[in-house]
C-alpha cells in the first residue's frame, strides 16, 4: 500500500505525542521515586498493570455499577497502595540494612515478576479490552492525523499531572521535603524531616500515577499481564535520557523517546520500536550520561 508522504507525517507526530504522554506518566512516577530512593524501582511497571487490572475487575469481572471516572480513581488508588506496600515490606527494610542499589533493584525485579504472574493467575494471561459501554469513544482529526478521544485524555492527563507535580514540588511543604531528601537523606533526617513517611507518600503518589498510565493504556489498546515490562522499560529510558530524578527531565525525555521511536519506524517495521528505544538509551548514556537536563 502506498501512503503519500504528506499524509503520514501528521499521524507520526500525533503518535509520537501520544506515546510521549504515556511514557511521561510512567517516567514522572519513576523519577519521583528514584529521586528520593536512588534506585531503579523495576516493580513500577507491574504496579501500572495492577492499576489497569483493578479497573478491569471493577468494570468487567464484578461489573459494579460505578462511574468510569470513579473506577479509574479506585484503580489509581489500588496501584498507589501496592506501591506503598512494596516500600513498606521490601524497600524500607532493605534501606535500613544499607543494602546496595543492586540489591534493591534485584528485589524490585523479583517483586515485578511475582506481581505480573499473580495478575496472570487471577485474570488469565490473555490480551483483554478495557472499554465499557459507558466509556469514551470517537475520534478527532487534526491536519489529517486521527486521534481518538481516549488518546486526547492521555495527552491531557500527561500534561496535567506534570503541572500538578511541578506545583507541589515548588509550593508545598511536602515538595520541599521531597527535594531535601533528594539532595541528602541523612541531612534531611537531621533537620527533622520524617524521611520514611515522606518516602512512603512518594511511593504512593508515584505508583498511583503509574496506575493512571496503565489504566489509560488499557482504554487505548487493551491490557495483558506483561504490559508492565514495556511500560517500565520505556519509562526508565525516558527518565534516563531526560535526566534521572528530574521532574522536567523525565517529561522531556518521554517526548524525545516518543518521537525517536515513531519516526524511527517510518521506513522500517514497527517491531523494531523497542530496539530503537534502547539504541537511543545507549547512545545517550555514552554521549550525555547525565541526561538532557543536567542536575
Amino acid at each position: 500500500m502506498y501512503i503519500p508522504y504528506v499524509d503520514i507525517v501528521p499521524q507520526l507526530i500525533a503518535n509520537s505525542v501520544i506515546a510521549g504522554a504515556i511514557y511521561a506518566l510512567i517516567a514522572l512516577g519513576f523519577n519521583l521515586i528514584y529521586g528520593t530512593t536512588k534506585f531503579f524501582n523495576l516493580a513500577h511497571g507491574a504496579v501500572a498493570a495492577c492499576g489497569a487490572y483493578a479497573v478491569f475487575a471493577i468494570l468487567k469481572t464484578f461489573a459494579l455499577p460505578v462511574n468510569i471516572v470513579v473506577a479509574c480513581a479506585i484503580g489509581a488508588f489500588v496501584a498507589g497502595i501496592i506501591g506503598y506496600g512494596l516500600e513498606r515490606l521490601i524497600y524500607r527494610p532493605l534501606r535500613r540494612r544499607k543494602a546496595s542499589n543492586m540489591v534493591l533493584m534485584v528485589a524490585s525485579l523479583g517483586a515485578f515478576t511475582a506481581l505480573q504472574a499473580f495478575i496472570a493467575i487471577l485474570f488469565t494471561s490473555q490480551f483483554q479490552a478495557l472499554e465499557s459501554s459507558g466509556g469514551i469513544s470517537g475520534a478527532i482529526e487534526i491536519y489529517g492525523a486521527i486521534i481518538t478521544h481516549t488518546q486526547v485524555v492521555i495527552i491531557t492527563c500527561g500534561i496535567a499531572i506534570m503541572a500538578i507535580l511541578a506545583f507541589i514540588a515548588k509550593y508545598t511543604l511536602f515538595g520541599k521535603a521531597v527535594s531535601a531528601i533528594k539532595d541528602d537523606e541523612e541531612v534531611a533526617r537531621m533537620v527533622g524531616i520524617d524521611t520514611d513517611r515522606i518516602i512512603g507518600k512518594v511511593f504512593f503518589i508515584g505508583s498511583a500515577i503509574a496506575g493512571v498510565a496503565g489504566i489509560l493504556i488499557g482504554f487505548d489498546t487493551g491490557i495483558e499481564p506483561t504490559m508492565g515490562m514495556n511500560l517500565l522499560l520505556k519509562g526508565t529510558i525516558a527518565s534516563i535520557i531526560g535526566g534521572v530524578g528530574s521532574l522536567y527531565g523525565g517529561f522531556l525525555g518521554a517526548f524525545v523517546l516518543g518521537f525517536a521511536e515513531n519516526f524511527g519506524i517510518w521506513k522500517i517495521s514497527g517491531e523494531w520500536k523497542d530496539a530503537i528505544a534502547f539504541v537511543v538509551l545507549i547512545v545517550f548514556l555514552l554521549v550525555r550520561p547525565e541526561g538532557i537536563i543536567k542536575k
Binding site: 527494610p93 540489591v103 523479583g110 515478576t113 493467575i121 517491531e271 530496539a275 534502547f278
Partner: protein
C-alpha cells in the same frame, strides 16, 4: 522415566547457563541481564546452519560460540563503561536489541515462525536418537563447562576478577587493565551460554524468539542468585531447583497452566526473600 530424562536434560542446559552467568555476575560482580541473548545466538546458529546449510552439530556449535563471542566482545566494549545498576540497565537493552533481531530479521531467522526440524547431533558417526543418549551428551557438556568454570575461578585470572569485584580502583593502581579482564570473562561466559543454546536447539528441535526474551535472562539470573553468587556448584543447584520447581508445584496440586505462573510467582518471591534475608544466595560467597 522419559520425563525424568527430559528434566535432567533441561537441568543440565540451565546448569551450563547458570555457571557461565555466575562467572560474570558472581566473580566479576557485573549484574548482566543479557545472557539469554547469547543463549539465543548459540541456538540460532545451530538451527540455521544445520537446517539450511548442512552443517553438523559440532561445527555449527563452534560457529555459534564464535558469533556469541563476537557479540559479547562488542557489547562488552559498550557496557564496560557503566557500573552497578546502570550496567544492568544497559544489559537489559542489549537483550532487547538481540531479541528484536531474532524477531525481525525474518530472512535469516524466520521471525516469529521459528525454525522447526533441527536435527539431533551426530557423535563419532553415530546419530543420537533417544533422549537418554542426548542426556549423556548434555551431561558431558555440563561437566566440560563445570571444569572450565572451576579452572577459571581457581586460576590467577579468576583471583584477579574477584579482586576487581571487591575493589576495582585498587587493582587498577596495581597496573591491571581491569576493563580487559571484565571483557574477557564476559566473552567466555557468552561462548559457554552459546553451547547451552546449541544443546537446547537440537534437543527441542524447534526454536523461536520467545525463548530468548528478557524474561529468560531474568530467570537465569534468578537461578544464579538462588544458588549463590561466586559459587559454581550453587548454580548447578539453582538450575536443578528451578527446573524441578514447577513439577513440585504440580505435585502439590496446582493445575499445569497455573503451575507455570506459580513458578514465576515463586521465583519472584524467592528473589525478594533472598535480597531481604540472604543477598549472597544459598551457597554464595559474594553479596551484591
Amino acid at each position: 522415566m522419559e520425563y525424568l530424562i527430559h528434566l535432567a536434560v533441561m537441568s543440565s542446559i540451565y546448569a551450563i547457563l547458570g555457571m557461565s552467568l555466575n562467572l560474570v555476575v558472581g566473580y566479576a560482580g557485573l549484574l548482566s541481564v543479557t545472557h539469554a541473548a547469547f543463549y539465543g545466538i548459540g541456538a540460532y546458529a545451530v538451527g540455521i546452519l544445520t537446517v539450511s546449510h548442512g552443517y553438523g552439530f559440532f561445527g555449527a556449535t563452534a560457529i555459534g560460540m564464535a558469533c556469541a563471542a563476537l557479540a559479547a566482545w562488542f557489547i562488552g566494549i559498550v557496557s564496560g563503561r557503566f557500573k552497578g545498576d546502570y550496567y544492568a540497565l544497559v544489559s537489559f537493552g542489549f537483550n532487547i536489541i538481540v531479541f528484536s533481531i531474532f524477531l525481525n530479521v525474518q530472512s535469516v531467522t524466520r521471525g516469529p515462525l521459528g525454525i522447526p526440524g533441527i536435527p539431533k547431533p551426530e557423535v563419532f558417526g553415530m546419530l543420537i536418537r533417544s533422549n537418554a543418549q542426548f542426556l549423556l551428551l548434555a551431561i558431558a557438556f555440563t561437566l566440560a563447562t563445570y571444569a572450565v568454570s572451576q579452572w577459571i575461578v581457581t586460576s590467577s585470572f579468576g583471583r584477579t576478577l574477584k579482586g576487581i569485584r571487591e575493589d576495582e580502583d585498587a587493582l587498577r593502581v596495581f597496573g591491571y587493565d581491569t576493563a580487559r579482564y571484565k571483557r574477557i570473562i564476559f566473552v567466555i561466559a557468552a561462548m559457554l551460554a552459546a553451547v547451552g543454546g546449541s544443546l537446547f536447539a537440537s534437543y527441542i528441535s524447534y526454536i523461536d524468539p520467545s525463548t530468548f526474551s528478557l524474561n529468560e535472562s531474568i530467570f537465569i539470573l534468578s537461578l544464579v542468585i538462588l544458588g549463590g553468587l561466586a559459587n559454581v556448584n550453587g548454580s548447578v543447584f539453582g538450575a536443578i531447583f528451578f527446573i524441578l520447581l514447577p513439577e513440585i508445584l504440580r505435585f502439590v496440586g496446582f493445575p499445569p497452566d497455573i503451575a507455570a505462573q506459580m513458578r514465576q510467582v515463586a521465583y519472584g518471591l524467592i528473589l525478594v526473600l533472598l535480597m531481604l534475608y540472604r543477598p549472597q544466595g544459598m551457597f554464595g560467597e559474594y553479596k551484591l
